[in-house]
Amino acid sequence: MEIREKSGNYCLKFYLHGTRLASGFVRNIKQAMVSLIQPVISFWNSSIGKKILVALSGAFLVFFLIGHLAGNLLVFTGRGALNDYAQFLHEMGHGKGVWIFRIGLLVALVLHIAATVALTRQNRSAKGSQYAHNATMRASRSSKIMIWSGLIVLAFLVFHIFHFTIRVNPELADMADPAQPERHDVWGMVIKGFENPLVSLFYIVALTLLCSHLSHGIASMFQTLGLRTGKTKDASKIIGIALAVALWLGFISIPVAVMTGLLKADSSGYSDTKASVIEAQIAKQ
């Protein structure tokens, strides 16, 4: 008994020491993970936590919309300016910049949708039964249709990305800037895209719903983030409505200008397709 113990001692000790160190290390990592993940999970599980995620992701999307609109309005300054801007977006950070933005937007959108859908379902089940005679005292119409305005905006976003970002329509994908044929003619594409009345109509309807979404959403954001007090409540409401209307006017001005003929492709017609411009260049040489 004694001999057996002693002979195996060093080996065993060494081995045990090693496993203890290793298991201690694993335990530390586990603990670190738990202490990191636990608060995140309990934040998500709490009512206020999910609301804060909705507000932060919503704020991020609103800032994006402001930037997106500022860029889009370059369409009124002509082909060169808008196409320069588009080229800059695609080339910044050696082409990585645009992807960083896209991933950020996707994360914000997924968080926003996951949290709002979860909240809406919880809310319906928390009410249980409805009143036979229903009445509201001051809830705005926009505030009552948030999930629907949001979901229609989502449907629009999917269409919008296929339309102008992925460009599934070869007619739109194939347009080249006549001045610099190696780059895409974003300006021509926007005008050609909006000359389709159905596209313009869907765009205007979706942006009107987005305006409704934001007229409640932005003011809400102040309250959810704890920034709405007796002093700031009127301001938060006014900022919400003003920003929602400003974004709406700015975005729809483009399809409206195209539909009314204020914004037209120039005399040379649409920019030619990339192939035809290159062919013409080869012919010249």
Binding site: P39, F43, N45, S46, S47, I48, G49, K50, K51, I52, L119, Q122, N123, S125, A126, K127, G128, S129, Q130, Y131, A132, H133, N134, A135, T136, M137, R138, A139, S140, S143, K144, M146, H216, A219, S220, F222, Q223, T224, L225, G226, L227, R228, T229, G230, K233
Partner: protein
């Protein structure tokens, strides 16, 4: 005056309920709403029926026992009063009045118009208090409190816990109640020590009871008989974030 009442009747917690039409005849304009129900109940009892069950106690707007959603609005469309303070002169002869219980999954109906609001008690037990030595009374003004803080704490303390905020909310959210109870104590120096555990405890209990989430429509503020402002909800959000961050790094 003569009225047609559409009243929610439900025999017990497990039973199915439905709206029943009851004629209320010869009601005095000077009667309170609950007195009108008393008159109707007397007649029902005389006719051998089951009287309409409803909650009430002080009948002067201070206890928070009375409830009722009247024509779709908790405590009626009249602002700043409880149902027991509502008078029949606010209605017109021949009116149809819809009377329903406060609706929320966390307020189960016990019978007719009576609901079980003990979920509110459990939220208070989760943090709506201050631990103090309860020996001899301390001198008044021994702890100086700025007038503004005292006033706003008092505004929150006016909450009588009736549950109208939950009943008015399409999400059955209890944020106005919890916000009022938490900020009442969180604004005072005596409440500071337990501020974070109070906010976390009360919000967690609120979630566990199955109340919904605020969507910032402020129906609660509109029906609150004590006209408590939704500012307390903003403060609760603020305090909750601070408490969560502190708890995570502690």
């Amino acid at each position: 005056m003569n009225l047609t009442l559409k009243v929610w009747r439900q025999a017990g917690p497990e039973s199915e309920g439905s709206m029943q039409t009851i004629e209320a005849e010869g009601i005095s304009e000077d009667a309170s709403f609950l007195e009108m129900l008393d008159v109707v109940n007397e007649r029902i009892v005389e006719e051998g029926g089951d009287p309409i069950h409803f909650d009430h106690d002080c009948r002067e707007g201070i206890c928070g026992a009375c409830s009722l959603t009247i024509n779709g609005v908790p405590h009626s469309k009249q602002q700043g009063i409880t149902t027991c303070q509502l008078h029949m002169r606010k209605f017109r002869d021949g009116d149809t009045i819809w009377i329903e219980p406060f609706r929320a999954r966390a307020f189960p109906v016990m019978k007719d118009l009576m609901v079980d609001r003990s979920s509110f008690d459990r939220i208070i037990a989760a943090g709506g208090y201050i631990d103090v030595r309860t020996g001899s009374a301390v001198d008044a003004n021994s702890v100086p409190i700025p007038k503004e803080d005292a006033d706003s704490a008092f505004d929150s303390a006016a909450c009588i816990g009736c549950g109208a905020c939950v009943a008015a909310c399409k999400n059955a959210s209890a944020m106005l109640f919890v916000g009022a109870k938490a900020s009442h104590l969180n604004k005072l120096p005596q409440g500071q020590v337990q501020k974070d555990e109070r906010v976390l405890g009360m919000v967690r209990q609120m979630d566990a009871e199955g109340f919904g989430n605020c969507t910032n429509q402020y129906e609660c503020e509109a029906v609150c008989p004590k006209e408590i402002s939704a500012d307390v909800i903003g403060k609760l959000n603020r305090d909750y974030v601070a408490a969560t961050v502190k708890e995570a790094v502690k």
